[in-house]
Symmetry: C2
């Protein structure tokens, strides 16, 4: 049987441009993380890897400030971790209330609906957050089993305050599920203190690790409910009753973990343990303030109110008469700087600028402000 | 709010043992692949990454010998690609016939059942393959919409011949879905010639790339059926009607692709294009024959008949009175060589020895045979 050479293309050695990634993610990985990534492999059941899995789980608990036993990196990106959080928490027929004030709340609605939940959308303008009264009124109306909120909306740059939400959830006997994709490792997060039942994140934002793993944590209320299920979780790959046995004490084979990505995540989490969470959060705040001050000096305004503005991601309003895409493209082609445009309600209205993890450094702010000034003043 | 240091452990720089991975996977990545893996990042919508995505897709088509437009690396491991193949091919209420002659056939049954299919298990002893008469008899009995077969059973080392299967599928108007996890890049595979409708694989076997991506290809019959669905695919992350738009001409954002893993996969596929498929398949055959001859000289026998024995994975029968786990552990601790034991029906009865991709080299065979001889003669 002849082999066809139709698709046998000859390509050059990889040579990517030296981008500074100041968009909504991925951010640039820390150099130590990239070195760990290419470390020689061991098998996924090797004693050396089992030890590494324990370290990754412990360090994730530190980063999230949780004691949850089930705290693991899902073998997919942040979106897979989001779906894992949803499919293991939500059951068919559940009433689920989701805060829709950005793109990722909408995604949670889509996922929960696919798994047979009766989803109620709690809406607010993109860039704002929900107050307790609004949440209570919505909970009274739909009596949810699960409340889904986005702690750090990557599409808007808004932070959802969580004070008092646990008390509300207790009142309604409701699980609290939150998106921490753009907050983990960069913005104050105290999961157990806040009484969060399920949370997920990605590695490519404030953890400064390449994309490819999705941190997930599930509390005891979720695990209890999962154990009481009478039907299988309708998703084999993300079924935590199976995956949990690989990451738990049994170490039962489920799938082959992304070995090298776990090397990288371990290094990223070590960097957080070395720096310390408070210092890291403070660094993110300080550099964000530098950016905000610089933008104000240039006459540019931020879309989100300062009280709930994320230090990891800033949405900058596009001035009248400026083509946002042209500015982004020029920053990329002339300065090798990546920033992004808006999504959904904010498409064409904002740029999204990320200062995440390793990239949250004063020199990056200085360079971006200078480059932006140059491009806008042409 | 005080931050707790309870989980703030101090760990050393990563220093994994220098393993030679001769089990059922992962195999050792090629050094060029590890170098590409740690290359500096670009964004997932960067023009440089879009170009890379095109190259990866084309080179995957070469490796699989298919013209399928939808040929992509799923952003998860091989198991995620398996679930993607199942969830995008199988619809609730479908009759699905699955060949169960090993662990991964059983997994396909589990997945298809979760998505509401009426699954018929076609059984055979582990280590054998199905002949056309058996497949026909089973198809006549259950009239399947989808036939699932494992081309290369990682749990048994058996190859499923596919000659004549397409003609059977045409007769019954049935889709043909195959598992090529342990054959892609190491064993003859001619997807279009064989009329395969859907196939999936992993990166950590004969492609010699770390685990973390799952190649998937879907033919026009699958896509047509997918487009005619009246309900959403019940899995957001793996819904190819969404993912396909990111990898297709639209480039619509779906999730952040694992950038660095795609660098690595590109390099692994470049190595295949450089070597050429025929030369690569022949190399796998030659080194497997060396292994089989050496085992025979030591009085050890292979579990699978030579006519359907995979060159990428050999199941070696454990001699009477030998503790297979003790042998594997000694090979690991004294020689840094990983091999694996049997699963399911073959647990305790065989060792699994892989000669995959970069690891399919004569010196590895020589070392393994010498080490095994030493350990068995103690």
């Amino acid at each position: 049987m002849p082999v066809s050479d139709k698709h046998r293309i000859q390509t050059r050695e990889l040579d990517t441009p030296p981008r500074l990634l100041l968009g909504p993610g991925p951010s640039n990985a820390h150099p130590r993380v990239l070195r760990a990534l290419s470390n020689r492999q061991v098998g996924h059941l090797d004693p050396a890897f089992i030890e590494l899995m324990n370290e990754v789980q412990t360090l994730l608990r530190y980063a999230w400030q949780t004691d949850n036993q089930v705290t693991i990196p899902v073998s997919g990106t942040g979106s897979a971790a989001m779906e894992a959080a949803v499919v293991n928490t939500v059951q068919p027929g559940d009433s689920v209330l989701v805060g829709c004030n950005g793109y990722f709340g909408e995604r949670m609605v889509d996922m929960a609906s696919r798994y047979g939940a009766n989803v109620t959308r709690m809406e607010a303008p993109w860039g704002t957050a929900f107050d307790l009264e609004t949440i209570r009124a919505n909970m009274e109306a739909c009596r949810p089993q699960v409340l889904g909120l986005v702690h750090a909306e990557t599409s808007t740059g808004a932070r959802q305050p969580l004070d008092g939400v646990r008390e509300l959830c207790d009142e309604f006997d409701c699980l609290l599920l939150i998106d921490t994709v753009t907050s983990l490792g960069g913005v104050e997060l105290l999961l157990d203190e806040w009484g969060v039942d399920a949370a997920y994140s990605g590695t490519q934002k404030c953890l400064s690790c390449p994309p490819g793993l999705g941190p997930l944590t599930l509390g005891s209320r979720v695990i209890e409910r999962l154990n009481q299920r009478t039907t299988k979780v309708p998703n084999w790959y993300l079924d935590m009753s199976l995956v949990g046995k690989y990451w738990g004490s049994e170490r039962t084979y489920h799938h082959t973990a992304p070995i090298n990505m776990n090397y990288a995540l371990r290094e990223a989490l070590r960097l957080i343990a070395e720096e310390g969470l408070e210092a890291r959060w403070e660094r993110h705040r300080r550099n964000a303030q530098l950016l905000w001050d610089g933008l104000a000096e240039m006459g540019l305004s931020c879309h989100v109110d300062a009280s709930i503005r994320l230090p990891s991601l800033t949405t900058v309003r596009v001035p009248d008469g400026v083509d946002p895409g042209a500015v982004s493209r020029t920053l990329l082609s002339e300065y090798n700087i990546e920033i992004a445009g808006g999504l959904g309600e904010l498409a064409g209205k904002v740029w999204r600028v990320g200062l995440m993890g390793f990239n949250s450094r004063p020199e990056n702010v200085t360079l971006l402000l200078a480059a932006l000034k140059d491009v806008l003043n042409r």
